[in-house]
Symmetry: C2
Subunit: 374 residues, 2 copies
Amino acid sequence: MSKFIKPSINDIEISGIRQFNTYASQFPEAIKLTLGELDFNTPKRIKDKAIEALNNNKTRYTTNQGIVELRKKITKDTLFTEDNVILTVGTTEALAIVLKSVVDQDDEIIIPTPGYVGYEPLIHLEGGKVREIDTTKTNNCITKDALEDAYSERTKALLVTSPNNPTGHVLSTEEMAVITQFVTDHDILLVADEIYHDITFELSQSFRDVASLKNRSVILGGYSKSHAMTGFRIGYVIASTELIKGFLKVHQYTVTSTSTISQYAALEAEEFTYSDMVETLKTRRDYVTDTLDHLGIEYIQPEGAFYVFYNISSTGLTSLEYCKQLLQDYGVALIPGEYFLGHHNAYVRLSYAADLTTLKKAMTQIELMHTKIK
Amino acid sequence: MSKFIKPSINDIEISGIRQFNTYASQFPEAIKLTLGELDFNTPKRIKDKAIEALNNNKTRYTTNQGIVELRKKITKDTLFTEDNVILTVGTTEALAIVLKSVVDQDDEIIIPTPGYVGYEPLIHLEGGKVREIDTTKTNNCITKDALEDAYSERTKALLVTSPNNPTGHVLSTEEMAVITQFVTDHDILLVADEIYHDITFELSQSFRDVASLKNRSVILGGYSKSHAMTGFRIGYVIASTELIKGFLKVHQYTVTSTSTISQYAALEAEEFTYSDMVETLKTRRDYVTDTLDHLGIEYIQPEGAFYVFYNISSTGLTSLEYCKQLLQDYGVALIPGEYFLGHHNAYVRLSYAADLTTLKKAMTQIELMHTKIK
């Protein structure tokens, strides 16, 4: 690494997921169920809206905050208004500017695990620490006791993801009540990563609707998953105007604004839910979980997103050993659980961003491996 | 401001330029020569390339670094290769990730002034300091003496902008030699902001061609100005692979990648220079400077970009007083020099991102005001 790069940047490790993907690319014939990107195209009506914007020369800067029409649509029928929104370069940038604005030296952020790997580096970069809560010990739910145990004088925020990556768990009404009480009691901030919000199969609820949290909640959302728009790089953050004022400073100096074309395209995404896609994902979810049931493999019930996090402890292998063996000997790539926040070595993540035929082949191979190990 | 926002973010002030623009918006009839965005549309062939990308479903994530085809085109006929490039969300993000990766607590960054206002907040956020060099004292040129005076043990980098905003000054061959020697002698980094690189009227040269700096130069570029693509949010950083490795970590956690559609559109921008636009800008530049000559008003010779930074000290007014009077009494909005890096109170910035008819009206009003003051 160059000596001009400062130590805290050098300390950021390349994520295990990336490393494993590089390794998996040596097996070009393998079925890859490693992806965080859906196998659906962006709906034509959204692409047409982007084309319309281009033809109408909507190719100049918008305000830093983004076009008011989209901010209005995002907050329609919520407790918030257009003033409470910044349009961002995907949910990634929303997360980056929020953590940059909030996390100070030695601040602690509580995060339930299993969790997304992208949170910790951003918190470390600001000198903060992650306090993990292992939800696999409490039936995959966030409990009051676990939150109180993790709390300290340095706690600045609680960060939750619902639906969760890598588990697909959707926060229940009870969990949301526990969380609301906890952040209110301790006067801390709630950061709710709701990037998978529109991909749920049973229950669907959002912290953007919890009135009592209005001044202490930060909602991160976007269109990458819900409308297969990853390449458009458009997401948003919703928060009180006081918080938005701070986030906007970081946003303007980080990116100025997000793509004007993508902002106009997202206007169309706000007009409909991609229900065909969600239905298809539900069918796949059901197929995978039914098969795991049949094989007697335990998993965390996925209620949203497009992942199944299943337990491999019966094999006696670590999650990396399991994934390497499954890849080398059976031609299926999954992500070892140890690479997610919380290092859950007893689990692996299967992404069902693949068609049913492919999933069936993959599950047959998984069955083969488990039969052989027994 | 919210108590959840940390002090260093609260300390960032909203830029004077923004404040002045808000003030100027109270005069809707006024001629606004305040803009950093050109009055040209994105060329049709670029928009068509974006449309083609949309129709071909090029709407998924690219790699974090960006599509290799564009990185190859950017580095064609240079000392660098595609491995030396990251595609960014405009030059803004390129600057943000570079300063974030390089500037550590108490590091000093030398910046010649007059300069762009966006540098200092990013440096302060990392705990660094700006050491200014006032080039108006040295005939608007960077000299060895001034650089050596600004140097200290804490100097991490020299940041230069060519063509410059707000002056339009283009670094001469002599200045580039002085800079090259200085950063090499002291073993520091050179950050060259070349966002206006393709808008020059006489001399045009780039630090990307200085072989001896290959391992210590960071070149920031983009298409926002050269091809009127501000809303596409696409730029790039060029540096050694060792530096790129560090920048890439910050880039991936800040934005993941920039818009896929914009990356494909920029492929077309790489195919041509927007020479009609540059010719038009040269005509405007000549008109404005000829008029200033005629009025006996001194200015820094603009050789690129689309700004004239002219001296108003003969009026006896501060730059803010001058701009307010010109706006209120004569209906022309310029930006006070005190709002740029270096706080050059004897100057104002006129942007000629406006057609010749508008510029003529504006210059007539400026003449009126100067006649009255005399």
